[in-house]
Structures are given as structure tokens and as C-alpha cells.
Amino acid sequence: METLGFLMDGFAVALTPYNLMFALFGAFVGTLIGCLPGLGPANGVAILIPLAFTLGLPPETAMILLTAVYAGAMYGGRISSILLNIPGDEPAMMTCLDGYPMAQKGRAADALAVSAIASFAGGLIGTIGLIMLAPVLAKFALTFGPAEYFALFLLAFATLGGITGKNPMKTVVAATLGIMISTVGIDISTGTQRYTFGVLELYEGIDFILAIVGLFAISELLFFVESRMGRGRDKMNVGKLTLTMKELVMTIPTQLRGGVLGFISGVLPGAGASLGSFISYTLEKQVVGKKGKFGEGDIRGVVAPEAGNNGASSGALVPMLTLGVPGSGTTAVLLAMLISLNITPGPLMFTQNADIVWGVIAALLIGNVLLLVLNIPLVGFFVKLLSVPPMYLLPIVTMVAFVGIYSISHSTFDLYFMVAFGVAGYFLRKLDIPLVPIILGLLLGPEMEKNLGHALVLSDGDWSVLWASPLAMGLWIVASLGLILPYLIGPLLRRRMNAAMKESPVSD
């Protein structure tokens, strides 16, 4: 009941016209970001951070804007999956399997509509799960001491690559690099200058916002330049909506299953939205059995993964909001926004910044409704935008990133830094070093060091305190499993995912 009261307060925050306007704007921009290939959700949210910052938005509005973008990107990813057989973002991969065949049969409009509804159902289920689970977890997290937090951060890094990740060692290297960058500047507890080389701009440390924007946006531009896909694609025809009520009712159980499964895999460390949509799709295939025509344009094959990935995107907010430990790239970027708004994420946020937390949660609910309303009539508009060639779009996006960073500090020094990060990001991506752990390292590094310090001061320098409590020990075990499991079952899972992609007759 207490939760319900908070939620009502949240609605009061989110429903003010000002915030509602930003939620609508965010939902719209998010869908755009999601549907444009090559502009993933993490990337899109990253570019918007400096803007939200320079606009001087109050914290709750800024968070509502970015959460709406996040939810919108998950909606948008499906559009290019269905129409072009090219997933707009990774979690939308499974939607290609049945969405594209449906489009080829002339039922593109139906596929788009039903997937919007499935996204809505998944998002709704995920948000309800978030509302129920988050306060409980936040209360539990209050019992964490510094040693437990230190172990928790390790867990976050270890599982970030995901069970399907390719090379866990590269995740470790990436995370270490990120933490190393975060140590630049004056040490908070002793005042020692670390790695500043006497450069004044480095005394305060490296601003993670410019690192994030550089790593994502600039490296994306460079990748596009290299692959020379500037031309864009042909116009698509969406056709008429022929979806019947009966079909829609038939998919309800699928939506529920997909949403719940997606939510669970979103909450769990190391699973994420991609696995969520994969599990929902495979389970659906097994439940329906031979009666379905999966891979040939079965409507449930579109519903399941979409409900799954939107459920997962809400689920991924649970660890971010309650523990301050994001489980995915986009939630890591959202965390960056929180930190730069001077809000300490974690269990205390639920008591100290209740209006923000519940405002964000309420905004997710409202955002989902807005997105559904936006997506069904406006789908034609989004489809048109899909044919805007990246050769015009990407330079403009890059310019917006420059403007955003410049307007924070009005110094070109930061811009050079951003370009340097972009070049580094390009090389790292080429070498298969994931960027998300770098970002997470940048964000969590200072907290990690602080907790290590506290734990050791409390124990009077005894290092074993780090794994002394059963809870901390458990976290260490899960963290090591997170590094070992990808070697054992990762190849298996990956093979299955690939096999699922190949089974479908259209994948070429």
C-alpha cells in the first residue's frame, strides 16, 4: 500500500504538463533513435545527456526525458527489423525472424501494429514488476556494507559481458581501463594528484559525459564512414492494417509469457534484453509446438520477442535504481545522468530522492501509453524517416554531440578530448573490446575505491574483510561464475541463437 502511495506521488510528478511534454518528446525521439540503424539506445541517450544538462532541466524532468527515450528506443528497434530484416538494435534481432516474413507477405502493417501492442504489454508487465520488486530490493540493499558493495561492483563488471559474451577477458580489460580513467584527478580522500601531469583541466578528473559521447557517437560516425553505408535504403510500403480482433486476443498469452520472461532476464545480471527476447521466442516456439508457423511469419513470433525485450528494458532498471549498478549499456548511461545530477544512486535514493525514483517509474508507465498511441498512427512517419540516408543524418548527429559537449563547459579542450575518445573507441571496437564496461568502470570506479577504503578502514587493514560475510562471499562466487560460465555455456547458447537465425528461410 505504501508503494501505491509513492506511485501516486510519482504520477503527480510525471503528469505535470512540463514533464509530460518532455516525456512525449523523449518517447518520440527515442522511437526515432531506435529505428535508425546504427544509432542504438545507449548511443542515443548518451547524445541527449549533455542537452538535458545544458537545458538546465530539473533532475526529475531530465530523468523522465531520458527514461522515455530509453523506452522509446526499445519500441523503435522493431521497425527496421520488420521492414528491412535489419535489427535497429541488438535485442530486436529475434523480431526479424517472423516480422520480416510477415512483411514480405504484405502484412507489414499488421506486424508493426501487433509488435507495438506487444511492446506495450511487455513494457507494462516489466514496469509492474519493477514497482513490486524495486522497493523490496532497495530495503534489502540497505544491509549492504562497503565490502558487499565492493563485491557487488565486481559482480556487475563480471556479468556485464553477458552469458553470451564472446571473450570475458576483454570485458575485464575494458572495465579496468574505464576504472583507470576514473582515477585521473585529485584523490578525494588524500588530495594526492593522480595522473594529472600538471594539466589544469585534468585536476577535476575526466568528465565521463564527454567520454561517453566520444566513445559512442564519434566512433559510430567513424564506423559508418568505414562501411560506407551512406546511401540509405529504398522506400518501403507498409500496406493496410488487416489485423483482426481474434488474432489479437490469440496473442494475449504470448504477450504475458514474453513480458514476464523478459522482465526476469532484465533483472538478472548478465542476461539483458537480447537474451530476454531470445528466451521468449524459443519458449513460445516450444509452447505452441507444431501448430505454429514460426519463421514463416507467425504473428506470435513477432509478439514474443517484442514483449520480451520491452519487459527486459524495464527489468534492467531494477538493479540500476536500487543498487546503483546498471546491468546494460543504456542503463549505464542513465546512471551517468543520475551521477552528474549529483544524485547518489542506490538504496538511499528511494528515501532521499523518492520523487525522482517514483517520477521515473510513473513516467515509464505513462511513456508506454504515449508510445503505443504514437506508434500506431505515426508508424508511416517513422518508416519515412528510415529512408533518410545516414550520410545526412550522421554528420548532423555528430554536430549535435559537439554542441552538447561544448555548451557544458564552453571549452574546446573538451571537444578535442571527445574526439580522442572517439578514435580510441573506434580502435577498441575494432579489436572487439566492449565499450560498455569502460563506461561502467568510469562511473563506478570512484565508488569502488571509496568502498574499498571504507571496508579496510573498518577492518583495520585486514583484506579478508572483503569476502568475510556470507553475502559478500556469495557475490564473489556469482561474479566468478559470471566470468567462467561464458566459456562453458556461452558457445552453446551462441550456436543456438545462430541456429535459430539460420532456420528461418529468409535470413540471407
Binding site: 580489460v173 579496468t176 581501463l177 564512414v225 568505414e226 551512406g230 546511401r231 575494432k430 574499498l452
Partner: protein, 148 residues
């Protein structure tokens, strides 16, 4: 399939890790005497982890990615130069002129027709400038256009 990329990366990271760890040992003892956790403790731990990681990369490298050669590499260098020159000229020339040139050149190099490319640049520059300076009252440098 060679795996030179990971080996070079590993070597580079190893050098970085050693330099990073070594630098951490050079800091003066903080005022008030040494504690268990000084400013150098955490960086030292990181250096050890990175040494291990870089050795692993050198011993068990992944196969190489396709690196751009010839024209692609050339285009990449051009884009980079554009970005740096853009930053350099942003304040002296002003936002509108610099952006028109930068966005125009980038989209031209990505395959747009030159006239259309620079038109896109000019249009987006003016829209963003007006939006920021008048709509949001955040001043972007006007540069040469200041006299107007």
C-alpha cells in the same frame, strides 16, 4: 587469419599497465602518514589486473578484424581531420560557418552530392544556432557573423 591486432593491443596495454602502476608508486606519502589504503592502493590493484589481462590477450589472441585499407582508411583520416579542424575553427569562425563546412564536408565524403551536402550543413547549422541562442539562450560562438 592472423591475430596481430590483439597481440599489439596486449603489448600496448602491458606498457600502459606497468607505467600506470609505476607512477602510482612515485606519489609522495599523503599528509598525516601512510594508511592501509593510500592513494596508490587502488591504482596498484588495477595495474596488476591489467597486466594479467594484457598477457592473456597476447597469449590467447582472437582472430583479427578486417582493418580498413586504401580508400576507406583515407576517408577515415579525412573525417578525423574534419572533426579536429571543426573544433579548431569553431570559435574563430563562429558556429554557423564552421558547422556548415564540417557537416557539409562529412556528408559529402559519405556520398552525398556536394551542393545538397553543404545545404544540409547550412540548414542544420542555422536551425541549431537559432534554437540554442534564442530558444534556449545558450550562447554558441557567433564568430565572424558577430558584426552582422
Amino acid at each position: 587469419m592472423t591475430s596481430l591486432g590483439d597481440r599489439i593491443l596486449g603489448l600496448g596495454l602491458l606498457v600502459l599497465a606497468v607505467a600506470y602502476g609505476w607512477a602510482a608508486q612515485q606519489w609522495p606519502e599523503p599528509f598525516g602518514g601512510a594508511e592501509t589504503v593510500g592513494p596508490e592502493t587502488f591504482p596498484t590493484m588495477l595495474a596488476v589486473v591489467l597486466v594479467a589481462g594484457s598477457l592473456y590477450l597476447m597469449i590467447k589472441p582472437d582472430p583479427d578484424a578486417q582493418w580498413p585499407v586504401g580508400k576507406s582508411a583515407f576517408e577515415l583520416v579525412i573525417s578525423l581531420v574534419v572533426l579536429v579542424v571543426y573544433t579548431l575553427l569553431l570559435e574563430p569562425l563562429g558556429f554557423v560557418i564552421a558547422t556548415t563546412l564540417a557537416v557539409g564536408t562529412l556528408s559529402w565524403r559519405m556520398g552525398a552530392a556536394p551542393r545538397l551536402a553543404f545545404l544540409t550543413g547550412l540548414l542544420s547549422a542555422v536551425v541549431v544556432f537559432v534554437l540554442f541562442n534564442y530558444g534556449l539562450s545558450l550562447s554558441l560562438p557567433a564568430g565572424l557573423l558577430e558584426v552582422l
